[in-house]
């Protein structure tokens, strides 16, 4: 993404062009990057999930910049619509999950107003463009389910009334991989709702130095000077990706073949679901768009599938690295795919 360039022909930028989406993503990337240093790869994946209409689970240690990232993302998306149309949707909300949290703390609740004598709905923190669900494994399964349902359905039900969430509802959940005492780890079935699970490692020395040296600028809000992205632009880009980025039948076949390979692998207890494949398609399309292409290529499969499938596999005893298993399943399929292109139709 650092060298993200538009390699397509310089046609006029309009709402119906890949280059348009590419430009939107570029703007968003630059703004987030101004706030978060040394995490370009994570930003790329977060943007992929955002445009692919998926959610993301970050597995990392406290102080690794996840709140900064989510906040920068939320602040980069503006909603210029007037209030009534917009409802009470905020651009960014953070929810700290604790064991005593209740579902209504997320969704909001109806409050009696003595002035009018009626109940009015006070929306919870879930009504936002970007929601940071911090330490999601610390809360009870009840709250987890409510959250995951909201993520899947994009709506919440309060007092028997179903209220839709914003179309651009994007969750960045986090969990601490080490401190597991008193937690409710998410089962594989629930992990399935997240498009990516990203395990963040410590950033390298140069990046860390850069974080320190740019501390003052970033405090002063260097990113805010950069042009933001509107909610509409993101929704348009989503539509455009779905419409314009080609997924060739060969790519679809490869996707299914890889899933089959994973399902028959002896090291895998439970293979990937069909939903995973369905979710993978927009993610692959988004990555193609981010790299300025109007077709999904083999390299998209190679780059994204370990991220998409990694947390959806249940491995048998003896196998510890899902990445190794996925790599083994990818290699023959990618080789066949590469050869198929030379053979021609």
């Amino acid at each position: 993404m650092v060298q993200m360039v538009n390699t397509l022909s310089p046609e006029p930028v309009g709402p119906k062009n890949i280059a348009y989406g590419h430009e939107v993503a570029r703007r968003l990337f630059d703004r987030v990057r101004a706030a978060v240093r040394g995490r370009d790869d994570v930003i790329e994946l977060v943007l992929t999930a955002l445009f692919a209409d998926g959610h993301i689970l970050l597995e990392d240690f406290p102080g690794s910049g996840k709140t900064t990232l989510a906040k920068a993302l939320g602040e980069s998306i503006v909603d210029p619509r007037p209030d009534p149309e917009r409802g009470l949707i905020e651009s960014f909300r953070r929810i700290q999950f604790t064991p005593d949290l209740l579902p209504s703390d997320l969704t909001g609740t109806s409050i009696f107003e003595p002035n009018t004598g009626a109940f009015t709905f006070r929306p919870g923190p879930i009504f936002a463009h970007v929601v940071l669900a911090d330490e999601i494994n610390r809360t009870s399964p009840k709250v987890q389910s409510a959250m995951l349902e909201a993520m899947a359905e994009k709506q919440v039900t309060v007092d028997n009334k179903t209220r839709p969430l914003d179309a651009l509802f994007f969750v960045i959940a986090t969990q601490n991989p080490l401190d597991l005492a008193g937690t409710y780890p998410l089962p594989v079935a629930q992990l399935d709702r997240f498009l990516f699970k990203i395990r963040m490692t410590h950033i390298d020395r140069a990046a860390e130095l850069e974080v320190l040296s740019t501390l003052r600028q970033r405090k002063a809000g260097a990113g805010r000077a950069l042009p933001p992205v509107t909610r509409t632009e993101i929704l348009e880009t989503r539509a455009l990706i779905e419409e314009q980025v080609q997924v060739h039948p060969m790519i679809q076949e490869a996707l299914v073949d890889i899933a089959t390979h994973l399902r028959v692998d002896r090291r895998v207890l439970q293979g990937v679901s069909t939903r995973a494949l369905v979710l993978a398609v927009p993610a692959l399309q988004t990555r193609a768009m981010l790299y300025g292409r109007d077709y999904v290529g083999a390299e998209d499969l190679e780059a994204l599938l370990p991220r998409i499938f990694g947390h959806r596999l249940e491995l048998g005893a003896g196998a510890t690295e899902a990445d190794q298993v996925i790599k083994a399943a990818l290699a023959p399929v990618l080789e066949r795919l590469a050869r198929a292109t030379l053979r021609g139709a």
Binding site: T7, E44, A338, T341, G344
Partner: protein, 725 residues
């Protein structure tokens, strides 16, 4: 495009193939155990190796340290051996089972356990370090080589278990063994290549096959027994190399200096090598107790030793040139008493420079080679073999009544050394007075005296002196071998006035016939013996066999080989059809082989044509398939210099990888991949450059980064396109 931090490097992981390794190790265990133990234990060993291999596959998943695994399996082997020992020694088991069963069980447990723990150790090592795979291959090769090594030096009947079966099928086991070796190499190459690239595996197999074919033909056309060094050493060893003039003790001993020194190192091997097979047409029991095959007679004393007679007409029976037609051999044997006529077919297994024939030959005749693949030459000899008992010839006069004085002098010459006469008269004095003029009795007295007083030995050499025979005869302990013994007997008898000569050739005990009619002659059977002439009887052998010896007695163990070769020698046209089928196949193979260079040349031309077409076809004739073919042309150019996409690597990442060296390849890749995957504007990345010119530009860019010698090599490589993918 950038490779993100999550970009995967797809390893060239070869998936485990336990069954293939298990098969190889089990077969190796079976073959190695077979000759040293019971058949059941050999199968137990194979089963042990099989289980060991599969256990190793499991163990290696347990993530234990390698040294733990290796030392664990070794300790397991030692512990197992100890436990088996304890078990077999225990009284209760002894009572339960019969001794045979106990032996059976012990052997099976021992070999099964040995192979089990051995294969665990070898497999774990080989899984962790691919280089240790060589150990496994080495074991397989060793197993085959150890089995087949008994087959060398013309011992075509060994190993019995294997060759018997093949002979039964009418197949020469040499080809079978070559086939086994070839199969082994193919299998091993298969293991090495398996799981990588089908193309590479195919190529390796092809190379192995061609090499194997080449070796098979080489080995077939060049019999190892032809090796002149080995044959020379074997012949020279007992001083009977015909070119060296073996007659005189001195001559023989001079020659023997070297062979004697050589004996411990090369002796056994060449001694055991079969030299010829003789088929008897009739049963005969020779008087001497052995069959004497003569290829030369030495009767003329030249001052230091006996050599072949230079006077024409003497020793006419000692013919040594091969016959070209039916030829009679002149000599006294024709009219002699007590001789039985017998015809023999001789088939030579090694090249001989002199013909030898069963004594005493009357007629020789060339013969069609019954098995050209096996024998060098064949001829038929009719001999009059001396039969009867030596006693019945007592009282016969020495020499021939027709001899003149010159002939008499010729057969009774000896060194002018008083000691011979002294010793001879001492021996004569020990004989009863009434027999003191009987040549046969005198000869037997000399024989018996020498047998009692000397020791058979190869350890002493009497080389380089005036009279080597005297040095032997008048030494304290009289250590020497047939050359010395026969010369001593000849000189002593000549001193007593008995006409004597030394003959050389092969001597085989009659017992070797073992009831059959074929006789195997080995190089170690070479011999020299003394002969006296009795009137009316001709030359009769006087064999001196010392009672003491420091040489290991010869044992005859090649009955099967003898029988087998006899059968082959006997074929002679009777089985022409079968004999012809062998050479026919070889001829066909040779003919095929002669086409190989042309086929290679044709293949070379075709692959250059393909290479050129793929490189320049899309440039010269751009068409509908342009992006694909132009991309392939560029890919071929990269492959020429070893820049090849790895297995499972997407084309885009490959393009990224070589981008620094070959920038033009990237837009070409994008155009190709884009049009393959349905991009609406696949050529947008070309920036207006013409697609069909891009391969040429790739070539130019490569020329700037690749050294000139690599460019030449790449351009010459006819198969570079084979690697582009």
């Amino acid at each position: 495009m950038t490779s993100s931090a999550f970009a995967l490097s797809v390893p060239d992981a070869a998936p485990p193939r336990p069954w293939l390794h298990a098969l190889v190790l089990a077969a190796a265990a079976l073959v190695l155990c077979w000759p040293v133990t019971l058949a059941s234990s050999a199968f137990a060993g194979a089963a042990g190796a099989l289980f060991g291999t599969f256990l190793a596959e499991r163990l290696i998943l347990a993530r234990w340290r390698l040294w733990v695994l290796i030392s664990g399996s070794l300790a397991g082997g030692v512990l197992g051996a100890f436990l088996v020992g304890q078990l077999l020694d225990s009284a209760t088991l002894g009572e339960l089972l019969s001794p045979t069963r106990l032996l059976w069980l012990g052997e099976a447990l021992t070999y099964g356990g040995l192979c089990f723990f051995g294969s665990v150790a070898i497999r774990t090592l080989a899984i962790r370090f691919r280089a240790a795979l060589a150990l496994e291959g080495g074991l397989a090769v060793l197993a085959v080589a150890a089995t087949v090594s008994a087959h060398r030096d013309g011992m075509i009947a060994r190993p019995l278990e294997v060759s018997d079966w093949f002979w039964g099928q009418g197949i020469d086991p040499v080809f079978a063994f070559l086939g086994v070796g070839l199969l082994g190499s193919v299998l091993f190459a298969g293991i090495l290549a398996y799981g990588r690239s089908a193309k590479r595996a195919l190529l390796q197999l092809l190379v192995v096959l061609i090499l194997g074919l080449f070796l098979a033909l080489r080995i077939h056309s060049k019999d190892p027994t032809l090796d002149p060094k080995g044959a020379g050493a074997a012949q020279g060893q007992e001083g009977k190399d015909p070119r060296q003039g073996q007659g005189g003790g001195g001559g023989g001993q001079n020659q023997n200096q070297k062979p004697n020194d050589d004996l411990p190192s090369n002796g056994q091997n060449s001694q055991e090598r079969p030299a010829a097979v003789v088929v008897f047409h009739k049963d005969v029991v020779p008087a001497a107790g052995a069959f004497y095959f003569r290829h030369g007679a030495f009767s003329q004393f030249n001052g230091t030793r006996l050599v072949e007679a230079t006077i024409p007409g003497l020793d006419p029976d000692a013919r040594h040139t091969f016959p070209v037609e039916l030829e009679a051999i002149p000599g006294p044997q024709h009219e002699a008493l007590d001789r039985s006529e017998v015809a023999t077919d001789v088939a030579l297994l090694t090249e001989h420079s002199r013909m030898f024939a069963l004594a005493d030959a009357t007629v020789v005749e060339p013969m069609a080679n019954p098995e050209p693949a096996r024998f060098r030459r064949a001829y038929r000899v009719v001999s009059k073999v001396l039969v009867g008992e030596y006693q019945q010839w007592m009282g016969l006069e020495p020499g021939d009544p027709t001899w003149d004085d010159e002939t008499w002098a010729h057969y009774t010459q000896l060194p002018k050394d008083e000691r011979y006469y002294q010793l001879a008269s001492d021996i004569k004095a020990s004989v009863k007075e009434e027999y003191q003029d009987d040549p046969l009795v005198l000869a037997l007295a000399v024989k018996s005296y020498l047998e009692k007083s000397s020791t058979y030995s190869f350890k002493r050499s009497y080389a380089g002196t005036e009279d080597p025979t005297g040095d032997f005869l008048f030494s304290e302990d009289r250590r020497g071998y047939c050359v010395h013994l026969s010369h001593s007997a000849a000189y002593l008898l000549r001193a007593l006035g008995v006409p004597t000569r030394v003959s050389a050739g092969y001597a085989i005990p009659t017992s070797n016939l073992a009831g059959g009619s074929a006789l195997l002659i080995k190089q170690g059977d070479a011999h020299a013996w003394a002969e006296i002439y009795l009137a009316g009887l001709g030359w009769i052998p006087i064999e001196v066999t010392p009672e003491k010896t420091d040489v290991e007695p010869k044992r005859f163990e090649e009955k099967d080989l003898q029988q087998l070769l006899g059968e082959m020698a006997r074929k002679e046209g009777r089985n022409q059809r079968q004999a012809a089928s062998g050479p026919k196949l070889i001829d066909l193979l040779k003919k095929l082989w002669s086409y190989v260079p042309w086929a290679l040349l044709l293949a070379l031309a075709v692959s250059y044509a393909i290479k050129l077409w793929r490189l320049y076809g899309p440039v010269l004739f751009p068409g509908k398939k342009a992006p694909r073919l132009a991309y392939r042309a560029a890919l071929d150019r990269l492959a020429m210099f070893g820049l090849v996409r790895e297995h499972g690597e997407p084309r885009e990442r490959f393009a990224q990888r070589v981008k620094d060296r070959v920038p033009s390849f990237l837009p070409l890749t994008q155009a190709h991949v884009g049009s393959a995957f349905g991009s609406r504007a696949p050529f947008a990345t070309l920036d207006g450059a013409r697609l069909e010119r891009l391969p040429l530009r790739v070539g130019q860019e490569l020329a700037t980064v690749v050294p000139w010698w690599r460019r030449v090599l790449g351009a010459l490589n006819p198969l570079s396109w084979w690697w582009s993918r």
